[in-house]
């Protein structure tokens, strides 16, 4: 990490770094997410590898200047492939005392601290309990502090506009961005073009933000601030774009619809951090995507199931509290054996918990959160781009096996962005779907007469003459689907539903692992810990320690080789952002006494922390 801290070069001769972690921090209203997003965009444009971590409060506008209102955006960018948004920033941009107080503890010793000193007035200092101005005392001696009059300079830069002082001040985030762009050798043009487009109907704002951006850049140059460069990363050849997890899920769903030729209907109720999938899908009506903002979570899944009954791919998106509410309808979908995708963007719980923070604590809920024996496949994404794969894979399983599927993502994957090598459409998997068109027992149609291979029942959709049938939540007779209270039939149907899901293990990729052949310890993960575990293991191996790692993308059923692979190692360590939910499943399924590493802070693991914890067991 110390590689981030280096003696700076000058504008003429920039000091080259292999990677940098910058955190932008300010008030919720300061536009830190937009600032970070723009810096990310321009870094992607330059060809850096990158990973981002937006971290913002649940309140839309907490009282200005308070610790509760601090919003931050961290970006890790590099000249090589990286796996995480970085443990600790080497650069902290603090727009006010609250942002400084909330984030200083994370800044690397010797790191660059860039502050808006105009915001360090008596009132703002008092709001966060500073009795003296930390910029003046010796408390920041361990850092390289750059004080900038961001507010005053912004007002001066936009003095020719008709904006009043308060409106003018709002462009100070662009001034900060201009400064950072100069320091790291990023061009302004992409940001200027973006601002012109975004504020095309408000030219005054467009002009003000661009003026502030340029003023920041010019200040960096004139004041001869530290100047660095980070070369492009050597990524695999192809066309790239930046993508967040939620955007990738939306694209994946549309791709699944195109590949299967089954139209998509999303029923969704707004909930953080899943709402962006609803927003995104609502835009693509030219793909035949129907979206309904339902009256509640239960209606949302019910509408999706109704659509699936009618021959569409029904999808519902939610987060923990919504998954609770959907449980009964999800059980019905298991009983109806209809294709359905339930996408759960996990967040801190229980109850309302931490709406904007990440966690992996819905795994057992996804597995067991329904009454009765109610098995269904679970697929988990593990990086923002992999959400695209997870949506397609979930749809493939749902349509092929006529079953609801839960896709688990989380708040970090949902909002975090990474470069994504755009796949060629021709290389996407085919998802063949055939609707029933003929009676299957003489002149009758039996809705529960299963395919011998997949155990899937036929999908006969309304409008098909001669296949009229009724299905419901009451237990059905094997084959005919008529109501049946027969004890042996219930036993048989329970076994069939279980066998159908279990057999999917034959149809999914085996669990892969990498690392040292003679490693005695395997680190097993699932979901968004992928990057942190990968980075921790990489560091351990660079230090000559032996370790192996594997990452589960299917949580139910597990890949067929899971038990065999785990038993090859003396120790299996499972880091999770919960209290050990995968550990419980692995112990129960394979009788392997795994070691759990648990963290529930609403933030991803730091690779450095994992490195230390794993090392204790090597």
């Amino acid at each position: 990490m110390s590689a981030q801290i280096a003696p700076p070069g000058t504008g003429q001769e920039r000091k080259e770094l292999d990677r940098v972690v910058i955190r932008f921090a300010g008030d919720s209203g300061d536009g830190m997410q937009m600032t970070g997003d723009r810096f990310t965009s321009v870094s992607a444009f330059l060809g850096n590898d990158l990973s981002t971590l937006p971290d913002f409060p649940a309140e839309i506008r907490a009282p200005a200047g308070t610790l509760a209102g601090v919003s931050a955006f961290q970006i890790h960018f590099s000249d090589h492939d990286i796996l995480t948004p970085g443990d600790q920033p080497g650069v902290l941009v603090a727009m006010n005392p609250a942002a400084l107080k909330a984030n200083l503890k994370d800044l690397l010793p010797g790191g660059l601290l860039i502050v808006n000193e105009d915001a360090f007035d008596k009132r703002n200092l008092e709001k966060v309990g500073y009795t003296t101005n930390p910029l003046d005392g010796g408390s920041l001696e361990g850092f390289q502090v750059t004080r900038i009059h961001m507010t005053k300079m912004t007002i001066a830069a936009v003095k020719d506009s008709t904006l009043n002082k308060k409106e003018a001040e709002r462009s100070k985030n662009m001034l900060a961005l201009g400064v950072i762009c100069w320091m790291y050798g990023r061009p302004l043009e992409p940001t200027i073009a973006w601002l012109e487009k975004k504020f095309s109907k408000k030219p005054e704002i467009a002009n003000a933000t661009i003026a502030a951006l340029k003023a920041g850049h010019a200040f960096g140059e004139t004041a001869e601030l530290a100047a660095y460069s980070v070369k492009p990363a050597t990524l695999a050849p192809g066309t790239y774009r930046r993508i967040t997890g939620n955007q990738a899920i939306a694209f994946g769903l549309i791709a699944a619809s195109v590949q299967s030729k089954v139209p998509l209907l999303l029923g969704s109720y707004p909930i953080t951090p899943a709402s962006d999938i609803l927003h995104e899908l609502s835009r693509y009506k030219n793909f035949g995507v129907r979206t309904i903002q339902a009256e509640d979570e239960i209606a949302a899944i019910s509408m999706a199931i109704g659509a699936s009954f009618s021959g569409h791919l029904g999808v519902t998106t939610t987060s923990g509290p919504g998954l609770d509410l959907k449980s009964e309808a999800l059980g019905l979908a298991v009983s109806l054996e209809l294709p359905l995708l339930v996408i759960d963007i996990q967040r801190g719980g229980p109850s309302t918990g931490l709406p904007t923070k990440t966690e992996q604590s819905d795994l057992l809920h996804a597995m067991y959160g329904r009454h009765g024996e109610s098995p269904l496949p679970i697929v988990a994404s593990y990086s923002p781009p992999s959400c695209f794969w997870a949506a397609i894979e979930g749809a493939r399983l749902a349509l092929k096996y006529m079953t609801p599927v839960i896709i688990l993502s989380d708040g970090y994957l949902a909002n975090g962005a990474e470069p994504w090598r755009i796949p060629a459409v021709e290389k996407l998997p085919e998802i063949p779907v055939r609707f029933a068109s003929q009676p299957n027992v003489g002149e009758d149609f039996w809705p529960y007469l299963r395919d011998e291979t997949t155990l899937a029942r036929p999908w006969a959709i309304p409008g098909t003459p001669g296949l009229e049938h009724r299905i419901g939540g009451l237990e059905k007779a094997d084959g005919s689907g008529n109501i049946s209270y027969d004890p042996d039939n219930h036993n048989l149907m329970t076994l069939l539903r279980q066998a159908k899901i279990k057999a999917i293990e034959e149809d999914i990729d085996p669990l892969e692992w990498d690392g040292d052949d003679d490693a005695r310890v395997l680190v097993l993960g699932w979901g968004s810990t992928y990057g942190a575990i990968g980075a921790a293991c990489r560091r351990l191996r660079l230090r000559g320690l032996k370790v192996a790692r594997a990452h589960l993308k299917h949580l139910n059923p597990f890949p067929k080789n899971t038990g065999e692979l785990l038993s090859r190692f003396d120790e299996v360590i499972i880091p999770e952002m919960n209290m050990g939910q995968l550990s419980k499943l692995i112990r129960a399924e394979f009788l392997i006494d795994v070691i759990s590493i648990n963290q529930v802070k609403g933030l991803p693991f730091r690779a450095g922390d994992l490195e230390a914890e794993i090392e204790e067991h090597l």
Partner: protein, 356 residues
């Protein structure tokens, strides 16, 4: 997938097919499933089932286009007895399932069967939102003012003071008036009828079927096991005096020789008067299509229960934009303006860069 995102299947035709070959020959038997009907002997549900099965063949719609959706309760077994497509779903949620079906497939004719507990208690939210959206659904609410399938607890339409298993000292709750509720929820078609009305019930069903948008029918239905005779003061033999039949454009009169009439008081409330005393010109003329639902609402408040003069028939029928039609229009417009979806173009949208 077709341009508008309909399932691509030869068996699916878009749009409502009016009377193709064979349809006109459909009979009541064609809509009877092979399942044994398992309601209690004497239940009002039998009459409603028979009425629906007798009305559907005459609508000129192919059988495979009908979908019956229900929740949980005695009435919700209804789909099993219809030889159409159907879902027996979960408690209270039928309007939401039906919304999904009707939105995905505007070519289908979707009916919801629910009860006073299913539709007004556990599922009240879905009912009002389906009505508000004006989804193309026909909603039949069987109101027997009791929970039957759970064996006799009071329901949200049970009268105050009702003694049931769960209210041994009498219910303390004010009941819902389903017609008032539907009107307040912006329903575009609201009607009331009762189970054993051999002519009126089928006629109201036909009117609902012809309405595009949400059609809500409250059907008074006798539960002869747990709440027998709840409507006898209205529906019993020789008790026609309480039945106020609504007819569009006609004065609202009822009783022996239409001697009673409904008049609006100065405060806007309605009252029952002797037509002879008040004069026919003072009697309210029924207007189903009035822009405001205020008059229909006032009519719905005429009685607080079936023991008083109770309006039957169509309270309100107005044309409003239908939810599914609006969705189809947006899909069509998007395809016209942006061109049909191009996946490669979508994935490559936004800022991209190439690594050689």
């Amino acid at each position: 997938m077709s341009e508008l995102g309909q399932p691509e299947d030869p068996t699916i035709e878009r749009g409502i097919t009016e009377g193709p070959g064979g349809v006109s020959t459909l009979t009541r038997q064609d809509f009877m499933s092979d399942q044994e009907v398992r309601w209690c002997a004497g239940c009002g549900d039998y009459a409603i089932l028979a009425a629906v099965q007798s009305v559907l063949p005459g609508l000129g719609i192919p059988r495979e286009k009908f979908v019956f959706v229900s929740g949980i309760g005695c009435s919700s077994r209804f789909p099993y007895y219809m030889n159409t497509y159907g879902i027996h779903s979960i408690h209270g949620r039928a309007p939401a399932f039906a919304t999904g079906i009707a939105t995905a497939r505007p070519d289908l004719n979707v009916w919801v069967v629910t009860g006073d507990g299913d539709g007004l208690s556990i599922g009240g939210n879905h009912l009002i939102h389906a009505l508000r959206r004006n989804v193309n659904l026909k909603i039949l609410l069987f109101n027997n003012q009791i929970y039957g399938l759970t064996k006799g607890q009071y329901s949200p339409t049970s009268e105050r003071g009702k003694v049931t298993k769960s209210t041994p000292f009498g219910s303390l709750e004010t009941p819902f008036n389903p017609v008032s509720l539907a009107l307040a929820a912006e329903a575009t078609f609201v009607a009331r009828t009762y189970d054993v009305e051999r002519k009126h019930l089928p006629e109201i069903l036909r009117r609902a079927a012809a309405h595009r948008g949400s059609a809500f029918i409250e059907i008074y239905q006798n539960c002869n096991i747990f709440n027998d005779g709840a409507f006898v003061a209205l529906t019993g033999k020789g008790r026609s005096g309480n039945r106020v039949y609504l007819e569009h454009g006609k004065p609202i009169v009822f009783g022996p020789d239409n001697s009673k009439g409904v008049r609006m008081k100065k405060d806007g409330a309605l009252e029952v008067v002797n037509v002879a005393d008040a004069g026919l010109d003072q009697i309210m003329v029924h207007d189903e299509h009035h822009e405001s639902q205020s008059l229909a609402y006032a009519l719905s408040r005429l009685s607080s229960g079936p023991t008083m003069p109770t309006p039957l028939g169509v309270f309100r029928e107005v044309e409003k934009p239908v939810y599914g039609d609006g969705i189809e229009r947006q899909l069509r417009m998007a395809a016209e303006q942006q061109g049909p979806g191009d996946l490669s173009k979508l994935l490559n949208s936004g800022d991209t860069w190439t690594v050689d």
